[in-house]
């Protein structure tokens, strides 16, 4: 059984279509990065997956319909919707007590262990903590839940680099095992490139790119082309070309590494570069189609 399975998932707000018929299948044990520009429909899609918003189409999360079975789903799924949604009046011990009180899969000792690694005091109120500490606290709570699915929607927005790094490190080292599934959206794509097992680009409510990181690394290559070989390089049909310090960097899809090595320095592109390439090609194609 797939962890998340969507067919023709659609959601409109009035005349604005936020999610436009998404087909999606996330297997167990994957870490999927959902990447998209602002307003692409990422959060709406995640909200549908988490049972926070009604939708059209078919959607099963851990075998359940999230909209009608949110309460049951939340026993096996966890999410951090945003930084700073922890209630500001809450004290750390209250959060621990409450989780232990209502969540069947919460392991209090584990949460206390995670918190012990931070400087967060047991009696602190959320409002007294810095943004980074609130994120640490929320992560400690969520990681102590033995969930099958964890959804993170911009969990590190507005945090400094140290907290961001720490966040993903502890997620990988202390939480992730092959039986859990994690779905994460973020704008800091570079930082999670090594974390992900799969990547998906979403734009204007549609999935425009979907691939595993293994495939990504074998398929896509980036070459900083020597100026005298630029014509030869362009003949290989790069999917994108950009200029850095006066030199051309060309992005290729499914071109032999040896062939490219002759043209300049070859390396694996970053997800961000591929994202820009895919999106600019797409908008170019869309404009071409419109004419």
């Amino acid at each position: 059984m797939a962890c998340i399975e969507a067919r023709g998932l659609r959601k409109a707000f009035g005349t604005t279509i936020a999610v436009d018929g998404i087909n999606l299948r996330v297997e167990e044990g994957r870490i999927l990065g959902l990447i998209g520009p602002n307003g692409a429909g990422k959060t709406t899609a995640l909200n549908a997956i988490l049972g926070l918003t009604p939708y059209q189409g078919e959607l099963r999360v851990l075998g359940r319909d999230p909209w009608t079975e949110r309460e049951k789903l939340m026993r096996d799924a966890c999410f951090i919707a945003d930084v700073a949604v922890l209630p500001r009046w809450m004290r750390v011990w209250q959060a621990l007590d409450y989780f232990a009180g209502v969540h069947p899969r919460f392991d209090r000792a584990k949460a206390e262990g995670f918190l012990a690694k931070t400087t967060i005091g047991r009696a602190s109120k959320v409002r007294e903590l810095s943004k980074g500490m609130v994120a640490q606290m929320h992560l400690a709570l969520v990681m102590a839940v033995d969930a099958k699915l964890l959804v993170l929607d911009e969990p590190t927005l507005g945090l400094d680099i140290l907290y961001r790094k720490q966040f993903y490190d502890s997620l990988l080292n202390d939480y992730f095992d092959r039986s859990r599934t994690i779905v994460v959206t973020t704008h800091q794509v570079e930082e999670i490139q090594d974390v992900l097992t799969d990547v998906m680009f979403i734009n204007r409510g549609r999935i425009v790119f979907d691939c595993s990181m293994e495939e990504f690394e074998t398929r896509y290559l980036e070459v900083m082309v020597n100026p005298e070989q630029i014509a030869a390089a362009r003949a290989l049909k790069p999917i994108h070309e950009r200029q850095v310090f006066g030199r051309s960097i060309l992005l290729f899809d499914r071109v032999e590494r040896q062939q490219l090595a002759a043209l300049g320095d070859v390396r694996t592109p970053s997800i961000a570069d591929l994202f820009v390439a895919v999106l600019s090609n797409q908008s170019g194609a869309a404009q071409g189609g419109a004419r």
Binding site: N47, L50, G51, L52, T53, P54, R70, E71, K72, M74, R75, C78, F79, I80, A81, D82, A84, V85, L86, P87, R88, W89, M90, R91, W93, Q94, L96, D97, Y98, F99, A100, G101, V102, H103, P104, R105, D107, R108, A109, K110, E112, G113, R122, A123, H138, D146
Partner: protein, 299 residues
């Protein structure tokens, strides 16, 4: 107040293999109510403050105006009860208005919804505060306050040579407490249920300013009815709801609101159609609030 709980027992390895704990519906409800008390501390602070004020006033009266010692002493007792319960009622109104609005405003609804607690449990736990928790709390605080007042005046009376027994007879403390409990459970709990239901519904729905949305519609209905039909049935209905079921003429002698509202015997009270209509209306409001919360997102 942090409970160490199971942190001492069980290594991380052990805890990994333990089966998920069984969380009963009543346990979820208990923790949901508990978290309301953590969040809105005015639920118990305000009645306590009212109690402190009454005690202070009573003490001042005992100390500085000896005349009071020979007056019927149940007047300050009833006043203390009215003050504490009135405070509880007002707290209940403001609490209900903010209950489902505040969590959307501060976005914490996203946190609450990430936990396996249904919208029904959440709304019912919030409804339980003005319906059960506040009345019982006010009752408890009132009883303790009155008891302290009784002790204080006994000390003063002993000092002045009067027998305490006459005071006890006059007061019939036990009888008064029972009356109070009956009043608080029937009127503040059951009779006012549709009022709290309405406030919770507005609080779940209002895009902003729940206070205005709660009080404007009744005002508009009253105005429209007055202009269009030159009647005021709606106002009468509201008054009926606020003042409680009609007492019989004989029991209304003292003009005390609490006495008036408690004047009905349980049989009379539970056979008042207004009670059941009110409870049905409350159920409708609550159902709507539960449904709304399911659809609601942060504002």
């Amino acid at each position: 107040m942090s409970t160490p709980s199971n942190s001492a027992s069980g290594s991380p390895l052990e805890s990994q293999v333990t089966a998920p704990a069984v969380i009963t519906a009543s346990r979820r409800m208990y923790w949901s109510v508990r978290r309301e008390l953590w969040e809105s501390r005015s639920i118990y602070i305000a009645p306590l403050a009212a109690a402190a004020v009454s005690l202070f006033g009573f003490l001042t009266a005992l100390t500085f105006s000896p005349v009071h010692r020979h007056q019927p002493l149940d007047v300050p007792y009833e006043f203390a009860a009215a003050l504490i319960m009135g405070t509880g009622f007002i707290v209940g109104i403001f609490y209900s208005l903010d209950a489902l609005y505040g969590e959307r405003r501060d976005r914490s609804i996203l946190f609450w919804k990430s936990l396996p607690v249904s919208d029904l449990t959440t709304v019912l736990s919030k409804f339980a505060i003005p319906l059960i928790i506040l009345p019982l709390l006010s009752f408890g605080i009132t009883i303790v306050t009155q008891f302290v007042m009784l002790l204080l005046s006994s000390v003063v009376l002993l000092g002045s040579g009067l027998s305490v027994g006459t005071l006890g007879a006059r007061m019939s403390f036990f009888h008064m407490s029972l009356m109070l409990l009956y009043h608080i459970l029937t009127v503040h709990g059951l009779w006012y249920a549709p009022l709290y239901g309405w406030l919770l519904l507005v609080s779940a729905w209002a895009p902003r300013a729940p206070f205005i949305w709660a009080f404007l519609p009744p005002f508009v209905i009253w105005g429209v009815e007055r202009i269009a039909f030159r009647t005021s049935h709606f106002l009468g209905m509201l008054q009926y709801r606020l003042t409680g079921p009609e007492p019989s003429a004989s029991t209304a002698r003292r003009g005390n609101l609490m006495e008036m509202m408690s004047a009905l015997t349980p049989l009379q009270f539970f056979s008042t159609p207004g009670l059941w209509v009110g409870l049905a209306v409350a159920a409708i409001f609550l159902t709507a609030a539960v449904r709304l919360r399911r659809y609601r997102e942060p504002i």
